[in-house]
Symmetry: C2
């Protein structure tokens, strides 16, 4: 098994969230973000910078996993919109953000990296946080076949 870990890379050295599925070449985590319950990441195992640094097969695997995660996040969280992003300017280790967005969230309709627009209602956030055990369970079920 070839791995390429970088000693100073946060995503080589730490999980980047609560790992709900660990496969050989990637992991899926739920991000602990009080304002964005249901925020997930697909993180490639190796310290690869860009999608086009992967082989075609690896890209297909990664994106297949992405759509599984997107579908589960949609089903469980019932967001207004899904936001997807692979940025990595600060941590150039291939990882995707899958973020369920709601019209009353901190930044909507702006991206989550923009200036905050409002303080979300604690009740509304609490309802979303309550869905996390189901999200975890469904992700584990849907990703179980990826070894």
């Amino acid at each position: 098994m070839m791995t390429s870990a970088n000693e100073t890379c946060e995503l080589c050295q730490s999980p980047g969230g609560e790992v709900v599925h660990q496969a050989e070449f990637f992991r899926v985590v739920i991000v602990d973000d009080a304002n964005y319950p249901g925020f997930c990441r697909v993180i490639w195992r190796d310290h690869v910078k860009e999608v086009t640094d992967l082989s075609e097969l690896d890209r297909m695997l990664m994106m297949d996993v992405m759509w599984q995660v997107e579908q589960v996040v949609r089903d469980v969280m019932q967001p207004e919109k899904i936001n997807l992003a692979s940025l990595g300017n600060m941590v150039p280790h291939l990882h995707w953000h899958i973020i369920p967005r709601f019209t009353d969230d901190v930044h909507f309709p702006a991206p989550v990296w923009a200036e905050a627009k409002r303080t979300p209602s604690p009740d509304s956030l609490a309802l979303r946080h309550e869905k996390l055990p189901l999200l975890r369970k469904k992700l584990q079920q849907h990703l179980a076949s990826y070894t």
Copy 2:
């Protein structure tokens, strides 16, 4: 040919950039952003909201096009990092941003939607703008087989 156009949707009604390749199911455009020369978009033809609303084949086509565009943008623009995003909170019509990022750009290392960090040097931007004819040509060449 089935199409589903939305009368109030910006991306159903206008190209969303300079069209460099128009295929049956998608188009690729270069965005006119003075601060981000080389910024491209892959825009799905139909008014579809989420990636997981597409069929598996359509998703594979779209992502295949994405990687072609990413590779050409990398080759021509030589960025520090590529940023990819599908957001659509304001325009819920499936489209991807492919943004070449540079350490001296307006927001680096923050996402382009964050607060500006600096005014980029006009010389540096001018050099990047000079690459646009080559970018246009290479995109057209690499995407020609997608009809």
